[in-house]
């Protein structure tokens, strides 16, 4: 198969999958509802089903975007016999917002929707949640040593060295995002880190390209080029329509669109509709008899029994749960080794107005060293207040709020002017330290991982259906992937229940 065909077939598969997933849950629901008498799913709760009333059809672990989407789709399919168990006292998982007062919010977690991320965009629209453009108009500010330089970047961003990007985009065509380990030359590509590969190229990157590649790879992939498998890197370029620039930039890129009210509102709205089918502050500690007909889930609030379990958690979180009997070796090893070291820390400075816009600046600040990786305009859609949010290096910025705020304010004052020195509010969220219920933002897959453990990522094990953005065939790691994985998990669970009822 030549590369062009591979890409074409991938695109076709994506379209097909998107259509299937978009319509699938509803269609599945109708089918099951139509045969309610035969399947006893739509007739509601477990009480109407033969068997003890304390056994649920489905337990969903995790009330992030994946788990809540799965719950929503189960409900739309007529299944009421389920519960969502959430460890935190809030929903939303890796989406989270700071309330700034007067209805304004800023984002502490995942927040952007880009081209091709249709599942999350469709879901937002269905829930009557609006979106708006990430602000990027004007000059970005760059700092190195004592020097400050401001320049307007076309489309709010640019790619790495054009020659390298062209080569990478071409290579990405034959690395399917869904199964990078099945790429024709997977073994060869998975031996190298992105850093190794760059070192082997004839093109030598300029000093500034090196610095900016470190930053952008840290932001998008969770660690600098030396920590990322080339195979994994290419698979993400693949999901961004084989265009590295589209993965990295704002305009026409994966950072293009924001959600009015903050991305967490999607989860909050889905949770509202679940009412009693959601239990907060209910961490799952142990899963017993996953290989039997009825699985027992041991939580801090007691034992729950179910026929199917949707595990809507990243694999590193799965590794924190004890399984009895032990999981098969391949899956266990995937969880044990799953990268959990990109937790991310984000800060927020609030100002009376987005004053930088008046100066022709877009609020973006990219220093070459120090605690700040990248700051950007995170103001609400109407610009009624000014918000500068930042990705920071967790270990390089003091943890005390006063110190952290001052260190960053000094940098902002240099970049944006003295008005930046006195924010009216400061918020800080170090995901790796706040609680143990995310562990990592995205998954910086190291060399050698996908080709050895990738095949164990998705196949269900006994009654356990693995979900969460990491399992998505498209945009794994993004909010969009979470929604897709939730839709698919609901379909899988309904199918397993239907199968079981046909045979009993």
């Amino acid at each position: 198969m030549n590369k062009g065909n591979t890409k074409k077939s991938l695109t076709a598969r994506r379209q097909f999958l998107t259509q299937t997933l978009a319509g699938g849950a509803l269609a599945g629901g109708m089918a099951l509802t139509g045969k309610a008498g035969a399947f006893s799913i739509s007739s509601g709760n477990s009480k109407s089903h033969q068997g003890p009333s304390d056994i649920l059809d489905v337990v969903i672990i995790g009330a992030g975007l994946a788990g809540l989407t799965a719950a929503r789709d189960l409900k739309r399919a007529g299944c009421e016999s389920f519960v969502v168990l959430e460890a935190r006292n809030r929903v939303g998982g890796r989406t989270y917002k700071h309330d700034l007062g007067n209805g304004a919010v800023s984002e502490a977690g995942g927040q952007w929707i880009g081209p091709g991320q249709t599942a999350i965009a469709d879901l937002a629209r269905q829930l009557n949640i609006d979106t708006f453009d990430q602000y990027y108009q004007g000059k970005s500010t760059f700092l190195a040593g004592d020097a400050r330089y401001a320049e307007e970047i076309t489309g709010g961003g640019a790619s790495i060295d054009h020659r390298l990007a062209t080569v990478l985009n071409e290579m990405a065509r034959s690395v399917p995002h869904e199964t990078p380990w099945e790429a024709p030359n997977a073994a060869e590509l998975d031996k190298l880190s992105v850093a190794d590969w760059i070192s082997q190229q004839d093109v030598s990157l300029s000093n500034i390209d090196q610095v900016s590649l470190n930053s952008s790879t840290s932001l998008t992939f969770g660690t600098p080029p030396a920590g990322i498998s080339l195979l994994h890197y290419l698979s993400w370029i693949n999901t961004a329509d084989c265009n590295l620039a589209s993965l990295e930039r704002i305009k026409d890129g994966a950072q293009e669109t924001r959600i009015v009210g903050g991305s967490q509102i999607i989860s909050l709205k889905m949770a509202e509709a679940l009412e009693d089918n959601l239990k907060l502050s209910c961490p799952v500690r142990k899963i017993v008899n996953w290989d039997k007909d009825i699985v027992e889930i041991l939580t801090d609030q007691g034992v729950v029994k179910a026929r199917q379990v949707i595990v809507a958690l990243n694999p590193a979180l799965c590794n924190q749960i004890r399984f009895e009997p032990a999981l098969p070796a391949g899956r266990a090893e995937l969880q044990r080794r799953w990268p959990a070291h990109a937790p991310m820390r984000k800060t927020v400075h609030v100002y009376p107005r987005p004053f930088w816009r008046d100066e022709g600046l877009n609020g973006q600040i990219a220093p070459t060293e120090g605690p700040l990786i990248w700051a950007y305009d995170n103001s609400p859609p109407d610009g009624s207040i000014g918000v500068i949010a930042a990705f920071v290096k967790p270990g390089q910025l003091p943890h005390e709020p006063g110190d952290a705020e001052r260190v960053l304010s000094d940098i902002y004052a240099r970049a944006l002017g003295e008005a930046a020195r006195h924010p009216t509010q400061f918020h800080d969220h170090d995901w790796g330290r706040v609680d143990p219920w995310s562990l990592t933002c995205i998954h910086p897959i190291p060399p050698g991982f996908w080709t050895q453990w990738g095949e164990y990522l998705r196949p269900p094990v006994g009654r356990l259906i693995w979900s969460g953005t990491e399992t998505s065939e498209i945009w794994a790691g993004a909010m969009d992937g979470a929604v897709r994985s939730g839709q698919k998990a609901a379909l899988n669970a309904l199918q397993e229940l239907a199968k079981e009822r046909r045979t009993t």
Partner: protein, 224 residues
Amino acid sequence: MKRAIKGSLVLITAGIVAAGAWYGPQLWAGYQFMKAVDQQTTEYRANGGPWPQLQDTCVLCHGENGRARNALYPELAGLSSSYIEEQLQAFAEGRRKSPPMKSISLRLNDQQIQMLAAYYEDQAPQPTGSVTTNAVLSDQGQQAINDMGCTSCHGVQLDGGPAAPRLAGQSEIYMAEQLKAFRDGDREDPGQSMNAIARQLSEADIKAVAHYLANKQSRGAGAP
């Protein structure tokens, strides 16, 4: 955006070299900026070799050159290579519990572990920033350290030895967390001596010891 600086700047720099600074403040700023980047690159190369290096991946949490600036995260600069190697093995085997360090240590091969350990041993430590000194707490911490005989393994100046790490100037909250981990059995010392010592410490002792150590200047502190 993120990687914004990019190609256009490279072109601009080429232009600057040819045209000179009098073409305007924007060009001059660009020239100054690129000069600063070149200077930083030279320092980076002198410190650890040409970009990119494996230690780049440790910077987010442990700081540039292993100097964390956050009391929650440990400083790696100046720790002995044997200690760092042993810790990476302990994370991989689960003797020391940390989900992020576990996944990192499991992906490193022996050669990479040795390379990173040697690199951080060579870096000059610098006390973690923003430590406020409480004299009463410091005295209490010093007393506890004298009573426990910490210097017999960690060195007279608490600068560490082959098997025991440098404590002087180490991050305050991190240090308290580790003492509690030893006490509660979440971290195991191969010889169990740290577990035994930590079990004798009260919460107040742990707080005082961590505070004293974070404020103690270590050898090479402040060195570039």
